[in-house]
């Protein structure tokens, strides 16, 4: 448990490699994706299309849509997704089509 991270993790699980924004992280398999990203210090998941402001998880229950990320070209709420091995996650891109 790193003490310089915002969150303390009480019960770590087995981790798998996951890519977010071209950086590889080891995240607990099956864990809530939004929580997992927060636990490794990723606090902003996207920038808003209106003003390009950074946003991260707010409600953690699938209601606010601020935690949206792009997985395999589909924009999904990270808090409604579970960590799977070798997941490739990107910040949503409203400007240009990502080549996958």
């Amino acid at each position: 448990m790193k003490t310089d991270l915002t969150f303390r993790n009480l019960s770590p699980r087995d981790c798998v490699p996951v890519q977010f924004d071209d950086v590889t992280y080891d995240l607990p398999l099956g864990e809530n994706l939004a929580a997992a990203l927060l636990s490794v210090g990723v606090t902003s998941f996207r920038n808003t299309p209106v003003s390009n402001s950074p946003r991260g998880p707010f409600c953690m229950m699938g209601a606010c849509f601020d935690c949206q990320v792009s997985i395999d070209g589909v924009i999904t709420q990270a808090c409604m997704t579970q960590v799977a091995e070798n997941m490739v996650i990107r910040r949503p891109n409203y400007e240009a089509w990502d080549d996958l």
Binding site: P49, G73, V74, I75, N93, Y94, E95, A96, W97
Partner: protein
């Protein structure tokens, strides 16, 4: 309260006409309904469209062309007066085809209409490869498209806002949350609302969309209009996918893709259905396969205001002269004509447009 014109209905038709009358120096009061009523102006597709209109009535094709030609200046003036931008793009629009037969049939029909319009019908036919150069994301099932250069699209909600703002700026009155219950004409017109509000006016314009079906007969109109549902979808914001609009899909200025629309005779039912949404989604994906991964975030059922032949009705009441019926289902396309040209017809000016073909007389109703 005394006003030159009382306009019943504060949608795009009512507001456009009100705007034009105010600019002509008339006093105007617009009487609008409440937040929850059927409001075709809020649910439409936003096209400023010429092609495929008036295939059986060249006058309607011409009327649409006149309006489209006036739109840019109209939008600019509204923007300049109110400081509120009215986005408009007129770089042409497509009729997309999935078979050579349907493409050829439409071209044949367009040629007939073009002749009746004296050749003023600028369109070209794009085969799949030529279309692909214009629309890199177009799907393989689209065999080709008719690109009509007078087509375009606008932001209808911003148009409504700017019209309302400019109306107020010019001293027009806009009262909303009202339901008109009765109209009498002892000498001038005496309009009563359900909450007791009374408005008197020298002339009345009925621009109440579907509301004309009940109010029209009170003013001596046949008002043979009916609702027709069009389900519309809108996706999340996406990167640039579609350059020019078509009836299947367009990319709105905020970035979402708007997809439409069904044509259902279901009465005053503005709900959406899964089968309607699925059919529209399938058509959109056939045209633009990248849309398969796009999320639907909003949908609605808009009720078109349709006359029996789908064309507008412009009619002065014979029983109550000074009362006018103004109704159409292309309120966005015709907004400029309603603002610039219709007031001359209402005022019977010398240069008034000839709108005889749009009178109620064309409907043989007993």
């Amino acid at each position: 309260m005394e006003t030159d014109y009382a306009i019943i209905g504060g949608g795009v038709v009512g507001l456009s006409v009100a705007w034009g009358l105010l600019r002509a120096g008339k006093t105007v009061t617009v009487i609008d309904g409440d937040d929850g009523s059927f409001r075709a102006s809020r649910g439409n597709f936003g096209l400023v469209w010429v092609q495929s209109k008036g295939m059986n009535q060249p006058r309607y094709a011409k009327w649409s062309q006149q309006s489209a030609a006036l739109w840019a200046e109209f939008a600019q003036e509204l923007g300049h007066n109110t400081g509120q931008d009215v986005p408009l793009e007129q770089r042409g629009g497509y009729d997309l085809h999935f078979s050579e037969e349907s493409l050829q049939k439409t071209v044949d029909d367009y040629e007939v209409l073009k002749a009746k319009l004296g050749g003023d019908y600028p369109y070209e036919v794009l085969g799949h490869n030529a279309l692909r150069k214009e629309e890199p994301h177009i799907g393989p099932k689209v065999v080709g498209a008719i690109l009509h250069h007078q087509d375009g699209h606008a932001n209808p909600l911003k148009l409504l806002m700017a019209l309302a703002a400019d109306l107020r700026r010019m001293g027009g009155r806009l009262v909303n949350g009202k339901t008109v219950s009765d109209i009498q004409k002892p000498d001038v017109f005496d309009i009563t609302c359900s909450d007791g509000t009374r408005i008197s006016a020298a002339k009345v314009i009925l621009a109440a969309g579907l509301g004309a079906a009940t109010l029209g007969p009170k003013l001596g109109f046949k008002a043979p209009i009916r609702p027709q549902r069009g389900q519309v979808l809108i996706t999340e914001k996406l990167p640039k996918l579609i350059n020019r609009p078509s009836l299947i899909a367009r990319q709105v200025d905020e970035g979402g893709i708007q997809i439409g629309a069904t044509n259902e005779e279901v009465g005053h039912n503005d709900r959406v259905t899964q089968s309607g949404l699925s059919g529209l989604a399938a058509d959109a994906i056939a045209a633009y396969p990248a849309l398969a991964k796009a999320q639907l975030v909003r949908s609605w059922g808009a009720l078109r205001v349709l006359s029996p032949d789908g064309l507008p009705i412009y009619q002065e009441s014979q029983d109550m002269p000074g009362a006018f019926l103004v109704t159409c289902h292309s309120g966005i396309t015709l907004a400029a004509a309603h603002a610039r040209l219709l007031p001359q017809w209402l005022e019977k000016s010398e240069n008034a447009p000839n709108l005889e073909v749009f009178s109620e007389d064309r409907f043989n109703l007993s």
